[in-house]
Amino acid sequence: MSDVTAEELMAVTASRLLADHKVVFAGVGMPLLASAVARHRQAPHLTIVLEGGIIGTTLLPGKLPISTNEMRAAYGAQMLTDITDIFLYAQRGFFDYGFLGAAQVDMYGNINTSVIGSMERPRVRLPGSGGANDIISLCNEVLIVTQHEPRRFVERVDFITSPGYLSGGDSRARAGLVGGRLGAVVTDLALLDFEPGSRRMRLRGLQAGVTVGQVREQTGFDLLVGDDIEELVPPSAQELAIYRELRDGPATAEPAADAGDLADRVPAGPA
């Protein structure tokens, strides 16, 4: 399957990490798309939860939400509750996965969506945490999906909006954080995890045709490299078809130009 976009590659690769019968608390954009792909493939019993207070959304293909609080996000849901309540489910330990994008992530998995520069006088004031801080603090296991660029993969984030392993080792547990074991980071170049002892980010798999050197080049810190680097299987025709139908609607229908266009451009944002 030719001309696979970076988004498609990331979403499909990430979708494979989701096991059946689990509950995923997904941000909009790639996390939601990846979760929806998983539901249509290996994880038909995956429950997708969105922070608008939505449990078990099934989504209407071609009508994907761009906010977790809008009607489209609630399509087919089994339950609607409120925002605070849904996060309290997370705090109780009900959500197997938290699934996030990241504007800037560091070697310990800390995410910054607050400021470039200082908080007092930011060079760029980013939108803020949204639910990302809560998702990474409260879900049982956290997955991150984002594009692999040096400006995104930095040694230390300017500001820890959403805590990963903080300064590594047991610093996360010492801060009182109970949930939020960081499982994997998926990018258009690689699959990464965190080394158990140091909690530093570690290369585990490469997208087809990508070299370790290329990943290092696109990473703004000294990346650990695991012992057996897996070559990731490229998206199958079936996976791409599922992804594209979800994004654009059934192929037979008129292309839902606006919605598809929007979904394409969805950056990492409020989870």
């Binding site: 909009v28 954009g29 922070e51 608008g52 207070g53 939505i54 209407l60 009508k63 761009i66 906010s67 609080n69 809008e70 009607m71 489209r72 609630a74 609607l80 509750t81 409120d82 925002i83 605070t84 996060f87 309290l88 705090q91 607050s114 908080m119 007092e120 006088r121 930011p122 060079r123 760029v124 004031r125 939108p127 803020g128 945490s129 949204g130 639910g131 990302a132 801080n133 809560d134 603090s137 409260l138 820890i160 909006t161 959403s162 805590p163 903080l166 610093s171 996360r172 801060a175 009182g176 954080l177 109970v178 949930g179 606006d258 929007l262 451009r265 950056p267 944002g269 409020p270 989870a271």
Partner: protein, 317 residues
Amino acid sequence: MEPVTVMAARAEREAAGRPVADKRMTAEDAAALIRDGDHVAIGGTLYSRTPMALVFALLRQRRRHLTVSRPLACYEIELFLATGALDRIVTSWVGIGLPWGLAPVFRHYVERGEARYDEWSHLAMGLRYKAGAMGVPFLPSLTMLGSDLAGALGLQTVDCPYTGEQLAAVPALNPDVALIHAHRADMFGNVQVDGYRHMDADMAKAARTVIVSAERIVSPEEIAASPAQTMLPHFAVDAVVAAPYGSYPHECYGLYGPDFGHFTAYAAATKEQGPAGALRYVEENVDGHTGFAGFIAAAGPERLAALAADAGELMGR
């Protein structure tokens, strides 16, 4: 953050009697209840069930030194900033919506230090309203720990007296005013909402003054016919404003979808002109009409029908 004692919040609540009266009024009369310097909490989230008719009425007043809080904030923040009404934003996220990228007017004011943005996590915002609604000065939580948000806000911790575990102590927020948009309300202020409730119930219960706009004003009998759907009782509400399409251009669950074209036009104007674009938007869309009904009329019946059809498709109608 300004700690609110339980004593003070309760005393204020007890002192403010709310007679069972006909609370219907215009959006303008309701907005006149808001004073310079007030903390105004805005219901809904991002572009869902935003009390836009009330927001527009407040914009028209050109209040000064407001603080505005919301779960996730949309372009209304920029309108308040551009009209000089807003000193401080208390929320977890500010933007128009993901596809429109960073919000330039918001950036303009915050990056220059001309407005302050207290950034909390989304759950922390919810717990702040909930603590205020519950009448306690804080709630314990496992969120925000270890983050730089905690340090920037001066978030305190509290130890569980039973287990010794350390938790974040999320402080209560008792807004001066809450603005809520609902599907239905009776004249006394019994309020019903369809679908999810965002943080509206806690926000209103926490607030000193509560202004509710509703798509439809219904009889008390219609409220009593489905009492489990009532989100707020009359004694938690001060003013009721009739506002059909009262969230437009934002969406109202089950009734009409968001007008993304409107967002896109706004985003283009502010990208190009910055604060002047936002100010011009207010002059045209708010000041340019005698009331919110004029703004709705300007949107035109075709557009409104299309947005209603969008909602209908999602509701299986």
